[in-house]
Amino acid sequence: MYWYDLVQMAWNGLSRNRARSLMTLLGVTIGAAALVTLLAYGSGLQHNARAQFEALELYNTLRVTSRPIPFSGPGDLLYRTLEKDSLSDRPAVALTDSVVTALGQIPGVLAAYPEIQFPVRIQANGREIAGGVDAVPMAFGRLRAYQPRWGRFFLHEADTAIILSTSMAQRLGFSRPEEAVGSSVQILVAAIDWAALQRMLFGGWYLSGGELPIRIQPYRVQIRGLLDADDQAFAGFFRVLMPLGLSRRLETVTFFSTVDLLFRRAGVSGYSAVRVHLEDPRLHDSVRRRIAEMGLYVTSFREQFAELDRLFWLIDMALFVIGIIALLVATIGIANTMRMSVMERFREIGILKALGAYERDIQRIFLLESALLGLAGGLLGWLIGWGLAELIELGVNVYLARRGVPAVELFYFTPGLILFVGILTLLTGLLAGWWPARQAARVDVLVALRQV
């Protein structure tokens, strides 16, 4: 038999009981749509993290600490605090300013700067937003990722200025980016109130009146420039840049100094961490070796991202399994439909065989039917899953836009995905049809013809 005729006969078989075929198709479509949406969501997560990583130049960044940080996965933060003392037996090298300078002089290092990060609130036009400060060295003026879209980079180390994202400026009530550049805003920074802390530590919580030992300190700064929020993705929502010199002049509680307060060991002072920015990611290994020779510990974001990749792989697998279950249920639907179809056409199969049809051809007709169901369901499911993802994304972005958050890409569709889902549904269709088709081919002519 010709393929053309086989397909024609398979099609006729499907159109005979249209309602049943359509219902089976619907099942496969829903299963495939679920799979497509979940997989696209998984790769969206990964894609966003990767884009974020690149936007923040983290591929080029090493984090240097006095003690090792056994960071082998996100779950290890707990382990890291529990085991902190038993990790090293050699004396730790304090991260003083001279060490920072020495790190900066290693060939291939663009800049080494103490890691200073702290929360901040920004007030302007009667509005207030929250953000997180990243103190950056002047050398970053050379990096593309730090080139403001509007305005310019900091004038000098002690420039009393900040750089925000366009979306933050918008939330601060500047209707046009140009308006924000150069205008003066107030920032509120939390500083430790040492007197209150002592009261709290030695007198207990009740003596301190239930207050945190923290003082809010206002400063006036200028908005020097605006980064494109889209380029920074999620970071564009909260990231505030400040020159290193200025950040040192502010009295702040950094994210790390609170931890240091609790865990800092006697004899080790200095910064809790120093960031080293490479001129070229290819210099990663050599710079790393040099830093290790100085008795310091290096965590590279690139390695952490590899760990993160493993986590994403797990998430992807979990999503895949959920999607596959949906598809599997649909596959059982195909198998059931095919069985019914074979039973209904029992006599016709007998006639075909009496006329000299090969078992091979009969098997192919039924396999084609189930493959068609699978493939059509897969393609429809892809379309519907894609449409669904677009709708969800639109909804989320409309919601975010009202709050001044830059648009996010939740779902990420690759050409590989359509191919993968197409092949997968085709295969599941063939798999579901295999046994019914085999049974159809094996029908006994005389038994079938006796059914009148």
Partner: protein, 227 residues
Amino acid sequence: MDIRLRGVSKYYPMGRAVVPALRHVDLEVPSGQFVLIRGRSGSGKSTLLHLIAAMDRPTAGEIVVGPWKLDRLSVQEQARYRRHTVGIVFQHFHLIPSMSALGNVELPLLLDGWSPRERRRRAEMLLEWMGLWDRRTHRPVELSGGEQQRVAIARALALDPPLLLADEPTGNLDSQTASEILALIGRIHRESGKTVLLVTHDVQQAAPFTRRLIRLQDGEIVEDVLV
């Protein structure tokens, strides 16, 4: 194409017992002969035709049709043998209900890989010859019993097999239509020279073209006469 059966038996297991449908049948039919087979219900007529059509295998004995040794054929060879050597017509027509008369006649040609155009031409020719030209697009339910049987005969002839087997082709028809169908089969025999095995009770109506008359009883040939 000549047919030779030697010591052919067919037993059907029924629970513990076995039902003998054919018992040690010896039969030789020379090429081109018109054989009428009769016998009471259950005497083994259909069983005999099914064995010759390779739709079943004998329990014992050997069947040779032309170059084909039927008891040695694989499933695939059986199908090819049926397709090219045997045209078979049933009492219940066994047409495919969802297909038109043309579609049904084209079926063996389609199975044999003919192009749509060639098989259409052949099927149209056959239906015209059967006097069914204006019924060619009708489905089986839209045809009378006699018309359905003529479509089935056209289908049996589609690949021009040397052997035509008809198992009570008139069993479901009134006597007027039955004699038309039998006359048609007689005409086919006369014009094509095919070997014809016809199982029927209408001995009178088939008499004009019957060359040989076989009577079966309890699975044995009890009468075999040339007329």
